[in-house]
């Protein structure tokens, strides 16, 4: 068996190309923001990472439901792979946010609705990975993780809503604003392309991570036989 399948190779090359274009657009094509300056460019990585993490956690929830209904182990492996990558992206969100916030807001962190929700989200999915890894019986661990993954995902809008009622400071979504939303057309195009590029990056990571967990499982089975 080849170590890398050709379909995977195509995905990896595609990801490489779109990420290169995304870098070009973010640093050279998009104009410099008039008040914030170059630091605003972090936005082109911050927002797509948040998007990729939501995508990842949505897949965790959907795969968890599928796993509880069918009991098929591959749904569980998909949920686990997706959760790991989701945690990676939400960590990027939490790291890039403060880098932007310090020069613009003059503080690294503020307890605003979106920031607090992202932090809570990060805690929930760290807990998700811990539940899975700390359960001695893997079959049970898969079930526990699925239950936690579903509750955790349903919790996301609830956490957001409750904190939004409490206070909010984060810049309002600029994308849906249309005219007067403050986003130049080049910036808008860059953001849209980066959302696409990060989706591709996410899919590639997910496919590879899923592949690794499948191979690990086969390896375990082979070890068991001998």
């Amino acid at each position: 068996m080849n170590s890398i399948r050709s379909s995977h190779l195509v995905l990896i090359i595609l990801t490489f190309i779109v990420i290169e274009i995304a870098l070009y657009l973010s640093f050279l094509y998009a104009p410099t923001e008039s008040t914030m300056g170059d630091v605003q460019r972090i936005f082109y990585f911050h927002v797509p990472s948040a998007w990729a993490s939501f995508l990842a956690f949505f897949i965790v929830c959907a795969a968890s439901i599928a796993f509880l209904r069918t009991g098929k182990a591959h749904w569980d492996r998909l949920a686990a792979s997706s959760a790991e990558i989701g945690v990676l992206f939400i960590t990027i969100v939490l790291l890039t946010g403060p880098l932007w916030a310090k020069p613009v807001w003059n503080v690294y962190w503020t307890w605003d609705a979106r920031l607090t929700t992202s932090l809570v989200l990060w805690l929930i999915y760290i807990a998700y990975l811990m539940v899975r890894n700390y359960t001695t019986d893997p079959e049970r661990g898969a079930r526990f993780a699925a239950v936690f993954g579903i509750i955790g995902f349903i919790d996301v809008p609830i956490v957001y809503m409750s904190i939004r009622w409490w206070r909010t400071l984060h810049p309002a979504p600029v994308i849906a604003g249309g005219e007067g939303s403050g986003l130049a057309p080049e910036m808008f195009r860059t953001l849209m392309f980066n959302l696409f590029a990060f989706s591709i990056l996410f899919i590639t990571l997910l496919v590879l991570s899923y592949r690794i967990s499948t191979l690990e499982k086969q390896l375990q089975a082979l070890k068991h036989q001998s």
Partner: protein
């Protein structure tokens, strides 16, 4: 037996057990009082901050104590394979779940009923005119916490790190409950308009319903052998 009787029988068993040992309520109570005492060191005696922070302290104490009680209450089911026995009974899993939630709410609420007057004394709070909505807030907050906690304590009891896992799962997920409970408690204590309190209470009720439905549906996957 219809399901109400089933729920009552399981709940009755839990109450009897607790009446004999009293360990869950005692531990929770002493713990929540300890939390209150420790928080007292944060403030200058008699300062204004004390009254404004009281709702937060109250709910931190309740949340920590509940966490303790919830994990203890499930650990009790594991002794002598109690849970297996319960699952072998010809009752629906949903009856087991509802009874466990009811038991947990009852024990935690009792602890709150004792801690609250102590808080009132220590922090010089005025709950006279608002005691009824305040009790409502306590019950609603406790219900949400106990619902999620009943599912998560069954999970954490089966992990390698046991009780340590429960707060790690429980606190982030119950952020909305804690937030809504703290807000309505502080509005009540500050003597705000009832309509403002009500807007948070409504939110709390909505959260309780959502969590209860979700946990109700998922419980059977957690206790399944």
């Amino acid at each position: 037996m219809n399901s109400l009787q089933q729920i009552y029988t399981i709940l009755h068993k839990d109450i009897l057990l607790e009446l004999r040992s009293k360990d869950i309520i005692t531990t929770m109570l002493i713990f929540s009082l300890t939390v209150v005492v420790i928080f007292n060191f944060v403030f200058e005696p008699g300062s204004e901050e004390m009254a404004t922070s009281a709702p937060g302290i109250l709910w931190v104490a309740f949340a920590f104590a509940s966490n303790l009680g919830l994990s203890r209450s499930f650990a009790r089911e594991q002794e002598n394979s109690n849970m297996q026995g319960l699952l072998l009974c010809p009752v629906d899993r949903s009856a087991v779940f509802t009874a466990k939630v009811a038991g947990n709410v009852l024990f935690i609420f009792l602890v709150e009923l004792i801690t609250l007057p102590v808080m009132v004394l220590f922090f010089d709070l005025h709950i006279g005119p608002v005691w009824l909505p305040l009790l409502g807030t306590l019950i609603l907050g406790t219900l949400g916490f106990a619902t999620v906690g009943t599912v998560f304590s069954a999970i954490s009891a089966n992990t390698r790190s046991r009780e340590v896992m429960l707060p790690i799962m429980l606190f982030p997920v119950t952020v909305p409950i804690i937030l809504a409970a703290i807000k309505s408690t502080s509005y009540l204590l500050a003597g705000r308009d009832m309509s403002q309190v009500w807007s948070w209470l409504r939110l709390l009720i909505a959260f309780d319903v959502i969590y209860f439905v979700v946990c109700f549906l998922l419980y059977e996957y957690v206790v399944e052998e």
